[in-house]
Each structure stands twice: as C-alpha cells, then as structure tokens.
Symmetry: C2
Subunit: 271 residues, 2 copies
C-alpha cells in the first residue's frame, strides 16, 4: 500500500486508528484457550469486529515469538488473513529490528516478502547502513523509532548531541538516506508538545503514535501538533481495545472501544 492510498483509506473510514495485536495468552478470554490456535482465533475475532473502524493492524512480534513455533505460525496466519480479506488495511510488523546491512536485508525479506507486511518498525542505533536495506523495498515502509513513549526515552533519545536532541538528529539524518520517502516514524504520544518541533523537521511523513490512552497521551493534543494536510498520523491503541472484555463478548467490547476512538477521530477530521 502506498502512503497516498493510506490517506485515502483514512478519509474514507474517517479513522486513523491502528489496533495493536499484542496477544498474551494470560489475558485473552479463557474460553479461547480450548481452540486449536487461540492466538489466531482471538485475532480473527478482533479483526472481523473492528476492520471498518481502523486503517491499520500492528502485531508486536514479541508476543508471537514468546510462544515459539506456535506463535510464529499464528503471526503468519494473522497477516495472511488480513491480506486475503482486507486488502484496504495497512499492516505493521512491530518488530523494532536493525542490524548490519546484509542482515537487515534478511529481516526485510522476513517481513516484506515472507510475511508480506506493508511496513516494519526499525531501531536507528546502528545508523544508515542498517536502515537503507529496508528502504530499498518498493511500496514498503520503514517506521523508524524516533521518540518512544516509555520512561527510558529520556536515557538517550532526549539527550543533546551536537546541540540537538538525539531523536531530532535521527529525524534529520534519516532524511538524507536513500529512498527516505519510504520512511515513517514512531513518536510517542506522551510528549505531544514535542510534535510541533518534529513537524518542522519532517512535515510530510506519517507518524505512528503509540501511548494514547493506556500510556497517558491525549488524542486532541496529538492531532493539534502532529496532523498535516494528508493527516499523516496513525494512532495506535492495543490493550485498551483488545482487552476491553475478558468474556465471550470480547470482540464486541473491542469494537465499542475502537468506535469511541474512531468517532473522536471523525470529529477531528471533519473540522
């Protein structure tokens, strides 16, 4: 999916919601544990109930790897199910990968070819030659960690490096990389006031914003500072939606939570 097509979907659905599929077997409704593949059964029900309310799904790979082969198989079934039934959905492998050149190419193949995701999250610490292998894939998107929503973001990301915070250096430097038009960025919602500065550096890029809701971010503020003329925002919510209920009504409860956010988004988009 191109970024233009993503904006079209956002305007059509009046939603820039991304739902994080972080499936923890200790948290899903107990009745699903009797299924042959409880992780996929959970995801399928969530997707069936919410796909008209969101524009993106974001499985975090950690939650699948923790269950070994069964987990990886559930990840494969999930992305295949979305691609086969909902080609209008933008898919994000939240994998936070990054390695030296030839190894990053293998990761890119894993997520862009084998699993056929539209995008993957990537860590910037190893620099240009660890990210460009991802950027080389046409119509695929690399979502670079810039400013994350956790406390540890203040350990290094906000420290000043040659007169500028590290996360701003990451934004500016990454703009010079080959195929930089395939970049998007992770920017945590807990620092909405930083978004004005960030938009000065990367006015056109899509931002993936975690941390609205559970982690304390505010949707209005994020949109005020972060939205651009083609929207340019994907707001992620994971636990707040997918674990809204622990009963047999979990998919409906998730849809209700998603709809709350979608309606708030529609109001903002209509302005």
């Amino acid at each position: 999916m191109t970024q233009h097509q993503l904006t079209t979907q956002i305007k059509k659905k009046k939603s820039f919601l991304c739902i994080g599929l972080d499936v923890d077997l200790d948290k899903i409704p107990p009745h699903l544990l009797q299924e042959e593949d409880p992780i996929f059964a959970f995801n399928k029900a969530i997707i069936d109930a919410t796909h008209q309310l969101c524009v993106a799904y974001k499985p975090n790979t950690a939650f699948y790897e923790a269950y070994g082969l069964k987990g990886w198989k559930a990840l494969e079934r999930t992305i295949n199910y979305i691609n086969a039934n909902h080609p209008d959905i933008f898919t994000i492998a939240d994998a936070k990968r990054g390695d030296i050149g030839n190894t990053s190419t293998m990761y890119a193949k894993a997520f862009f070819e084998d699993l056929a995701f539209d995008s993957v999250t990537v860590a910037p610490y190893m620099g240009k030659d660890s990210v460009e292998p991802f950027l080389a894939f046409e119509n695929k998107h690399t979502i670079l960690l810039a400013l994350t929503s956790n406390e540890g973001a203040f350990d290094f990301q906000t420290k000043t490096i040659d007169g500028k915070e590290l996360y701003k250096q990451v934004l500016e430097t990454s703009k010079t990389w080959k195929n930089a038009e395939n970049l998007m960025y992770v920017v945590g919602a807990t620092k909405a006031e930083y978004l004005a500065d960030i938009r000065n550096i990367i006015p056109d890029s899509f931002l993936l914003v975690p941390g609205v809701g559970a982690q304390g971010g505010n949707l209005q503020d994020v949109c005020k500072y972060g939205m651009n003329t083609h929207v340019g925002l994907l707001i992620n919510s994971s636990r707040g939606i997918i674990y809204a209920s622990n009963g047999t009504d979990f998919a409906l409860a998730a849809a209700n939570k998603a709809e709350e956010l979608q309606k708030e988004m529609a109001l903002i988009l209509n302005k």
Copy 2:
C-alpha cells in the same frame, strides 16, 4: 551458564571463539538443499566439526526469520541440539531486540525460556526500562549494543552527547541498571583502539567482538586493548568460518578455519 563458567571453558579449550551461524540458503553447499531441513543439516555439521574449537555459537535470528516457519523451526532445532549435546557451549541469540517493558519481557521469554539461549543481543535506544526486563532473568546474559562494527556506527554512536560519545554514555548509564552484572556488550573490532577507553568504563564485562576477519579487525589488537584478567572477550567469526568451502568438505573446511583462529587465541592466552 555463568560468566565464571564461560571463563573456565575459555581456559580449558584455549579459545574465546564464537561462531556465527548466519545460514543463507544461497550460500550453503548445494547438495544440502536436498535435505528435509537444510538449515539444520548445515548447522549440525558445522557444530559437530567445530564445537571443540569454540566456546560459543551465535545464530543471527534474521537469517532464520527470513525463511518463515521453516526458519524458526531450524533455529529451535539448532539451539536444542547444542543444549542437548554440548552443554559446555555458551549460546547467543543475535536478535538485537528492545521494546517497552512488558514487550521486552515477552522477548526475554522467547529467547531465555522458549528457546533456552544463554544470552541475547539487545539495542539500547529505548533506554533502561527496555533492557531491565532482560536483566531480570537469572544466569542469563544481555549483550547490549555499544559500538557496532558497521559504517553506520558513526551516524549516532560516536557523536558527542553531553561531552561524551553516545556509546560511552550507553556503557556508563547501563552500569546503573538493576542486575547490571548480567550485562555484556557488543564492541566492533574495526575500532580496536577504542577498546582501551571502553575498558576504563567497564573493566570486568565480557565483550562480544564481531568484525575480526571479514570486516577488517585484527585479533592481536583487540586482545591487546580488550582482554582483562578473566579474558572477557568473545571474538565472533561467521562467514569466514562457515562458508570456507561450498563443497561436500564444508564442515572440515570450517573446522580448519576455526582451528586457525583457535591456535592464534591459544598463543595469546599462553602469554
């Protein structure tokens, strides 16, 4: 395996060699492609031929993920084979993970519990609460990226932050984290002269050093600047060993290459 046990193995085998199992189906001997599981068949032959010459194996997860379920299964079979047959070997999942707290715990479970590796490589960009979940596992080791061996290391890692290079800030800050005694560090061999400074900050920690050989590092220099009283070094070689031959003699050729390095290491250890 504890760090003390690792040093004991190093002294017993007169080797601090780590062999990187970065298996690319385009590079392994073609006759193996007829096997039911070519990746595992390749690894098993390499391990059988080299396990007395090295103290550690390091599969890079990218090379397994690129082959999807088959790849993940081969990774599982490889670590199980090492653990069952060679409990004296230190195992490293070269995964370069890192995410917010609860997600890092899932990654730690994936590599320390499900796959039962002794250690995993982790990226520092997201700070303390992204690394401490790994450090919480007893007798497991977290190998933090400090100074990598690729060109992109100069994009951010060597930039000055509050008067000190970022990679030094990572070293110093990480020492204050809970269970920091479970930390080891990745330090690229292409910058052997930096090792003296690094040893001033972390005199006792094990360093995983990639980039000897293929990437241009020099073993003598690395040992001169990086070795401490309990050795404190794991030198990794991947392609230079495992792809020494493309014929049916590949395992023997790998053993010969590993032995060249092991002999050089024995000379240094005997001094």
